[in-house]
Structures are given as C-alpha cells and as structure tokens.
Amino acid sequence: MKTFEEKWTAWVDDELTGDELVAFEASLPDKTTAQAEKKAAHQLRSLLQRELHAPTMANEEFFSHQLRERMARDEEAEVTRSGGDPSPWWTIGRLLWTGAASLALFLVCAVLVLRDKNPEEQSQYLTEILTAKVDPVGAPDATVSMFESKGDRVTVLWTEGLKSLPSDYAAK
C-alpha cells in the first residue's frame, strides 16, 4: 500500500499508469495546481541535468597512486601511535626462546667455571708433595710414595727401603 507521498512522487515522474493513475488524479483536490507543480518539477530536473555534471579527471592513474600511498602512510602512523613495534622480531615466542637460550648458556658457563675452579680451591687446603727422591747411593732400593689422611688433612711422604740405623742415632 503506497502512501500519498509515494504516489505523488511517482505521478510527478510519470510512473503511474492505468487505474492507479486515474484513481490518484481523481483524489487530487486541485488538479490544475498539481499539474503546475509537476511541470515546474520537470523544468527543474531539465535545468539540473543541463547545468550540473561531474568533472572528468585528466590523470586518474596518478590520482589512484597518490591515494594508495596516502592510505599506506596513514596506516603506518596509526600502528606507531598505538605502541606497536614496527619490527616484528621481538615476538613473544622469540622472546621466550631467546630467554631460555640465554639462561642455558649462562648455566653452562657457570658449570664449566665452577668445575674448573673447585680442584684449585681444594688444593689450597692440602699440602702437596711436588717432587721427592732418596739417596740412590746409600739406599738404592728405597722407594717413596705419598698419600693424604683425609681425617685431619695430614699429607704423608712414605719411604720404604731406607737403611736402618742403630738406636744411638735417636739421640737429641
């Protein structure tokens, strides 16, 4: 069911036909005035069609290129303003992998350094026999060995085969 305004617009545009046209024109209170308005509308349409028309572009490819560049610049500025890193390298995944790799490298270095250092620290507290020899003439079969008593950290140089002496050699 069309409203009166819809039927009026269709009538001005000459789109009403048949019984619908007859019924609408019969419903008009003042057909003469309506016809005058219709004629004025047609004249206005003709004037507008004649006087107003879109200007044609002389270089539309260049215009499109400029437009695309402008849009790209605007998008980039928007990302920077929102705090995003333009470089995609430090993503969360890569950050985690880098952290794990750094920690692993740190632990490997720590283990290597501490393992290398511990023997030195232990040797600081124990007497160490560097060289030892017995008189090869007086005791040709003598041997030396060395060991440590762990309990009180006594370092012992043990000789075997030295020449035995009489008890008067124990004099003070």
Binding site: S123, T127, D135, L157, T159, L165, Y169, A170
Partner: protein, 182 residues
Amino acid sequence: MQRRVLVFSACLVLAAASPSSMHGEDGLVDHLIHAFMPAHRKSSAKASASHAGEIVWSGLVMAENTENPEPAPAELIEIEPTLKGLFGYNQFVVIGQSRKTLRTGQEDWLASSKHFALHVDAQGPSEGGYIVNLKLVQRDNTEPPAEQLILETATKLSKRSPLVIKGPQIGGGQLLLVLVVQ
C-alpha cells in the same frame, strides 16, 4: 626494548641470589667474572702473601713403642691419632726442632739433632701456602764427621695440612719429620 631490559635484569637477579653469595662467599657472578680476569690471580697471590708472619714448626720426631708412653708434644697433639694409626707407635718424642716465623716466605732454617739435620728452604708463598725444599741429612760420628743426604723433597706446604715424612728405622723406633704451619 623494555622486554630486553626485563630479561637481562631477571638473569642478573637470578645469578646474584645464588646460595653461595648468600653465605658470604663469592657468588656465581663473581666466579664467572673473575674467572676470566687477571685480577683474580692477583687476589689469590695477595691472599698467599697475607700468610706472611705465620710460624712453621719443623720437628725431628722419634716414634717408639713403650710401656709408659710420654704425652705427645703440643705441636703433635692434633695429629697424634693419625700418627699412631699410620705408624703403629704409641710414643712420639721430639729430638730436634725449629720454629720459624716467616716474613718474606723465602727464609731457610735448620732443625737438627745429634745425628740428623733437616734443612728447610722456603721458596716463597704459593696459593694457600708455601713452596719449601726439604733435605734430611745424616751426620755420622766419623773422623772427619761425614754428612749424607738421605732424602730430598719439594713440597707445597699448606697451613691447614701438616706434612709427615717417614724417615729411616732407628733401633726399635722410627724417625719422622713433621712440618706444621701454625
């Protein structure tokens, strides 16, 4: 950038909070840093040099078994159980001794008895102690008196670790050479 700083800070905190650093010893970071720095070696040498002024007791000790053993001298009290266990004697008598205070760590001295002399020649401080050359010389009652080198050794002597050398058998006992940094 903030994330990088955060990761680096976390690693530093982790390392600094290692248990060793909490107990007042060098932390993990110290180990890692100092392991590659010459200054670390210098500090070790400085620590050794700080031992100057310590006393080295050198003794010629006769170990014997008797029915009524005399108490061990003060210098041997701490290691007497070890000496008894190692050598099987119950009495330790000092027949010659020397107590030397180290100033430069390069002194030499002598501990002697009637028939033995222990030459001690310190070669300077080393890491945690002193390098010493020892010579045990036997003196015989001959005309003219003769000296015979019995034993020679080079040792890195540590403050916390006495040195015991088993010498020749004498009668029913055993001669021992003992060096203790006091």
